[in-house]
Homo-oligomer: 297 residues x 2
Amino acid sequence: VTSSHAQGRAGAPNADPRWRLALNQATTRRLSLAEAVSCCAQAGVRGIGLWRDRVDEAGADRAAKLVREAGLTVTSLCRGGFLTAATAAGRAAAIHDNRRAIEQAAVLGAPVLALVCGGLPPGSRDVAGARAMVADGIAELVADAAAHKVCLAIEPLHPMFCADRSVVSTLGQALDLAEPFSPHQVGVMVDAYHVWWDPDLEASIHRAGPRIAGFQLSDWVLPLPADVLLGRGHIGTGCIDFRRLDATVRAAHYAGWTEVEIFNEDVWAAPAAQTIATVVESYREHVAGVDRPAAPS
Amino acid sequence: VTSSHAQGRAGAPNADPRWRLALNQATTRRLSLAEAVSCCAQAGVRGIGLWRDRVDEAGADRAAKLVREAGLTVTSLCRGGFLTAATAAGRAAAIHDNRRAIEQAAVLGAPVLALVCGGLPPGSRDVAGARAMVADGIAELVADAAAHKVCLAIEPLHPMFCADRSVVSTLGQALDLAEPFSPHQVGVMVDAYHVWWDPDLEASIHRAGPRIAGFQLSDWVLPLPADVLLGRGHIGTGCIDFRRLDATVRAAHYAGWTEVEIFNEDVWAAPAAQTIATVVESYREHVAGVDRPAAPS
């Protein structure tokens, strides 16, 4: 499985929605890439979203081989972005790093590079200026994305991360940023945790259509912890209506993988096999539906 | 100063923007109403936004008298809302409570009742349903608001409060809810902390125009504390561009008061006179501008 853009983006991983499930490696953050791949294979999970730190640790070529030999598909690479910086040198360094990430995605056969666009530069209060930096940065990267057949997936982050992680906060805003470019080169990542609250969500998903480059799930659980980065829950433990969201994304003709990506210290502390079993069970219960008629396979 | 809707809403508190400052009572949460009024008078702050718990404690008639005798104006009453509930009885109780709040606002001469609309009912994942409950609740209250010459100010809360406090998350959404009604009866509260991140903010403020019934300030400070309700900072200590926001609100012809409303344990623990001095100084430095030419007075 070397990079195959058309296959990765357009092809359904399987006609049966129960088999669209992929593990995002962040959910088993303490495992090496080899260990995560092995756990997925044992649990019957056939797709995996990779993180660059673990890919670097394994080496990209070896990582690609490990995934391929386990019969898995790389569903995305996390992550590029962080395109906002106080200085021109800082912005140039970010572009350089994103080029490296695009190359790595190509080596891995990852059809999609998720972009967490960056927050306000230190000391800045200029959110419009930071958003302009994001637009400029994406424009600089599009040719590289095209050359490597990797789609840049702009990921709106929940507005509580606007100051420090992403000045792109809504799916509509991500679509505006993507608009000037081909959907093959610039798409959007729909992450349930980040967008579930948006009153325009369904309209934006409908508008997104072929720009939906990835779909990620974790649940909104209260209370938020002191570090709000780590407050996500297993699906079904919080207040997001995943069945409805999945139906909306599928009605927009997204036929790709659904990654479960959970940032949570308690989940990370649990045995990985148990975590993956919970991912599979909760996905079947709250998304792909064992309590409704199965899709024809 | 009994209720004077036209005066409260439309009249500028003073032509000099340095004198539009009001204290929202939540900023000095540990003070009684009499103490907060006295601190404002001593600091030269001429408007105060009241909270119902402290008004109940003093008695509404006595509270009105205290404010009046100190030469202050009541700028708003906080708060009504919480219109979402799992049962019809729960929703009826909420309507009853809001009617009481409207009456209290009238007694106080508060031109505006801020509405924190409510989150998802316990166990619910139906955010669209909760939003419909909010719309229904507001429709039920409009006649009371009109009869008492009190404007219901729908306050969008930051999306991190969508699950537990307000399914109304953006100014645009608040305006859609207000749209069917007269701006004298249903307006919006623009609270900087809740809306600063919104990519559509300036367009929504422009659209809001005469619907802007109140304007509140506190700063977005990182890191967020474990209880994100209490993470707000004195203006100028975080990342919000208040000068720009104030200019935008004023360009939309809002001529009312600017309340500083800070929920923060450290601010509450500080001596109240010091807190109010900081409110006044930071307002002048970051909003009304001592370092730019003063408006003609």
